[in-house]
């Protein structure tokens, strides 16, 4: 998800050539593969996917992942609601999405097969754990006959493997109880797939040994199962060929890379912001899916001076963060939509106090409890307007997992410079999805140092300190932290006189303050919107672009939109693409960009929230294309819509 190379969606092949590691077995080269691991919530599919991902990342492919699991911790074994899956797309060139449809499905039981079959294109390979295809298990998902031999799968290339039996067999000397031995079957599957796709193996073995350091016998069992899986592929007849996907060398700008998920990148971004600003990081948070992992990650890094406070509820979480900000810390609260609703009143207080504060919303399916583990973009208008009175708050939104890092720094910049709460809108797809990420040099990071007020400032020379005397440039008020002699002052949520900050019911002053708070946010400097428009004329001061359609998005839809745009262009289509990282205020050039195109298409995972803001502000007839299914867009689907809209121009 780094540069802009073609993504065709086709999978070309070459005549088999013997690869080093195979005992004379056929090897094929592929440019990209989409694999989906699927099993019970208890089968460890997420772990399996994670491991395959790190090996793949380390190997140098570009990749993108899509974990997908139920809200229940362990829905009952063998049931459809209990199915958990992990999809991974990796390639020898840069890619943008986890893939529309799997080329390979690993199904650990009938439920996993049934739940995912619908997504498979004909010809896809299926690896099934035959041990689980018992009458009872089949009945549980409403299969009267066994799909493995009633022709249900005739359209696919099926590899039946007795994963459980083979795993238990491989571990017969491990001394483990059968039940425990069976647990390792996901590692057997991982080993098999690692062989099939020539993945490195050391990392996984290292990982298993450290993960189970306290239970060495378990560690060994998993390693053994993992190797057994590999050898099974290598030696048995069931698998005739294995596949090579070359590293995506040209997809990456030079540098050191790692694989990173959105929530991890966000946590790192917050720590970086703390370092760069020189302010201690304080997180006040209440656990909620899919935001909890940020709390978990930050609580690991106390040696960075990070303080994490697991509050009694969301209101206390943001309250404590605001209190910490009053004391001079970088105050952060992390949550998801329902938590934002609860924080609304306190966000309004922060607007009135004009203190820096980061409010991180990892959006999930709504309304209400909604779909806690699924993704959505439907909190944009809540972030814009979800408070009493006129209470504007800036909004930034990352476009990819890796961008969550920079978004955190940018949110901090705005909060600290303008003394305001700032929303960072991520979502479940970015939070749990991952991609290769170039590790930035610390030297590249922005300088976020702030100056606390240390001197009295009353213009009337009274020698008083005026907490609301504003910087004429930014309209920011001074930040005088407790402990600073002579600057003792009181602030609160009641309307106050501009300048002195004293309580004021004066009508003219209130009107002035309302407009000043708005002007401060409207005046925030944000980078101009970049447009990807290959039109020859474009950008070189020539006439307006010859592409007539602009596709404009925000947040996690970047990948699918860009992939859709590529496909359309690959077919010779003309379209421009732009993606907003700042939703409030908008980039200054947005209006002018919109005006350049005959038609503006806005794909969103909501009912058209950005479109509403664009229409209201620029009176442009922005067209919404919306999907609110809890799942990301698919590239093919967007390519279609882009075509329709381009043709209509």
């Amino acid at each position: 998800m780094t540069s802009r190379v073609e993504e065709t969606g086709s999978t070309f092949e070459e005549p088999p050539t013997g690869g080093p590691h195979t005992g004379g077995k056929g090897v094929r080269r592929l440019d990209r593969v989409v694999i989906r691991f699927a099993g019970d919530s208890g089968d460890g599919m997420q772990l399996t996917g994670d491991r395959f991902t790190s090996e793949t990342a380390g190997f140098g492919n570009d990749l993108s992942t899509l974990p997908n699991f139920p809200a229940e911790i362990r829905a009952p074994a063998g049931t459809l609601p209990g199915v958990s899956s992990f999809q991974l797309h990796f390639a020898d060139h840069d890619i943008l999405t986890p893939g529309d449809a799997p080329d390979v499905l690993v199904a650990m039981n009938p439920a996993a097969l049934k739940a995912n079959l619908g997504d498979l294109p004909r010809g896809a390979e299926i690896i099934v754990n035959t041990d689980e295809f018992t009458k009872r298990a089949l009945a549980k998902v409403g299969w009267a006959a066994d799909p493995l031999d009633d022709g249900t799968l005739s359209a696919y290339a099926v590899h039946p493997v007795a994963l459980t039996t083979l795993t238990v067999e491989a571990l017969k000397d491990s001394g483990l109880a059968r039940k425990d031995a069976e647990r390792a079957k996901n590692m057997f599957a991982l080993g098999l797939l690692s062989w099939m796709y020539h993945r490195p193996t050391e990392g996984t073995e290292r990982f298993l040994r450290s993960k189970f350091a306290k239970k060495p016998e378990i560690a060994e069992a998993n390693v053994t199962a993992f190797r057994a899986g590999w050898n099974f592929g290598e030696t048995t007849e069931s698998f005739a060929v294995s596949y090579e996907v070359a590293p995506a060398a040209k997809a990456f700008t030079p540098g050191r890379y790692r694989n990173i998920s959105g929530n991890l990148a966000l946590a790192y971004g917050l720590i970086a912001a703390s370092k760069q600003s020189g302010l201690p990081l304080f997180l006040g948070s209440y656990p909620i899916t899919p935001a909890s992992d940020i709390l978990h990650e930050l609580s690991k890094h106390k040696n960075f001076g990070v303080r994490t406070f697991q509050a009694e509820d969301e209101i206390a979480g943001i309250g404590a963060a605001l209190g910490a900000a009053f004391g001079g810390a970088l105050g952060v609260t992390t949550t998801s939509g329902p938590g934002v609703a609860l924080k609304s009143e306190t966000i309004g207080l922060a607007v009135s106090l004009e203190l820096p504060l980061l409010v991180v919303d990892i959006q999930r399916g709504g309304p209400s409890t909604g779909l806690p583990t699924k993704t959505e973009q439907a909190d944009l208008l809540q972030a814009m307007f979800g408070r009493n009175g006129e209470a504007p708050v800036p909004i930034v939104a990352p476009a990819s997992p890796g961008e969550c890092f920079t978004a955190a720094l940018e949110a901090a910049r705005i909060a600290l410079t303008y003394r305001t709460p700032v929303f960072l809108l991520s979502d479940g797809y970015l939070a749990n999805g991952s991609e290769p990420w170039r590790v930035p040099e610390v030297a590249e990071l922005p300088d976020l140092r702030v100056e606390f007020a240390t001197e009295v400032n009353a213009p009337d020379g009274s020698g008083e300190f005026w907490p609301y005397l504003r910087d004429p440039e930014t309209l920011a008020r001074p930040w005088a932290v407790p402990g600073t002699p002579g600057l003792e002052h009181r602030i609160g949520g009641i309307e106050k006189q501009d300048g002195t900050g004293n309580i004021s019911y004066d009508p003219a002053n209130h009107d002035h303050m309302v407009r000043t708070r708005q002007a401060k946010i409207d005046g925030i400097e944000v980078p101009a919107l970049e447009v990807d428009d290959p039109s020859p004329a474009f950008g070189r001061g020539g006439p307006t672009a010859d592409a007539k359609l602009l596709v404009l998005g925000w947040g996690s839809t970047f990948g699918p939109i860009a992939a859709g745009v590529r496909r359309f262009r690959a077919g010779g289509g003309k379209v421009a693409q732009a993606h907003l990282r700042h939703l409030n205020p908008f980039p200054a050039n947005l209006g002018e960009v919109l005006a350049r195109y005959e038609r503006v298409l806005v794909p969103e995972m909501n009912l058209g929230q950005l479109a509403l803001l664009l229409r209201a502000k620029y009176l442009v007839d922005a067209r919404s294309f919306t999907q609110v299914s809890g799942m990301p867009f698919k590239a093919a689907q967007l390519a279609e819509v882009i075509k329709e809209n381009a043709d209509a121009c």
Binding site: N303, A324, G483
Partner: protein, 316 residues
Amino acid sequence: MPAEIKLTAKDFKSDQEVRWCPGCGDYAILAAVQGFLPELGIARENIVFVSGIGCSSRFPYYLNTYGMHSIHGRAPAIATGLASTRPDLSVWVITGDGDALSIGGNHLIHALRRNVNLKILLFNNQIYGLTKGQYSPTSEQGKITKSTPMGSLDAPFHPLSLAIGAEASFVARTIDSDRKHLTEVLRQAAQHEGTALVEIYQNCNIFNDGAFDLLKDPATRDTALLRLEHGQPYRLPQHPNGADGEEIVHDAHDPDPTRAFALSRMSHPTPIGVLRSVQRPVYDKQMNEQVQEAVTNRGEGKLEDLLTGSDTWLVR
């Protein structure tokens, strides 16, 4: 903080005009607090008052320290964040019976449980003052107010019982009009490490006038009040059977909260003073110790190392 600070009550008066009703008990409390603060020997800039919303919560505006007049019921949460990141400060919370026990009940009990280093002054006038006189969680059952013309139905909280039930390490009660006693209780609260809850009976002469007259009237107060002092004996009320109540030496430091709880239930007479004051780990202190420990064991975090992690590869 400077070794030697000599401040007076005047130093703690802000330039803001006090806007309570004439005769409000809040004036007496303000005077007592302004009179007491110099004693702390803490520089003004190192003292912060955080309040919620209510008549009582206007308090911080009138003190020349740092202060925040926040939103209804949330002061303990806000103060928790401040105290946790700034152990160098003396953080006080000002709240009312509605602010602390109605909308703010959850934050109060959790602050007490955590034992954050906060001094919470709860102005209990048994009424909602600022919203013009609805009954509060401490109003007596059957109270006739604007919102309960036929009498309120709820059994009131005993604020100190609730606090003790919520693991409070320090609970005390005092009265707005008894400056000497109020000051003495503030003194002990200030010395306590952890969360100190001080219930202050406060007269709202507009909407609930005379609620505490029995405890104030020289004619009745001596029998109506039970003055507790650690190490001093007190006598339990008469048994129904007329027998004298037993005499007990008050042990505020008793690790077992049962006796303090029993005292918190008493109303004839009404105990005032420090019911309970015990030492236990202080939340913000521990939080900072964990940070220290992490630094000692793993060294100051290095951003490069963090970002790089263990699993990377090079692209040339």
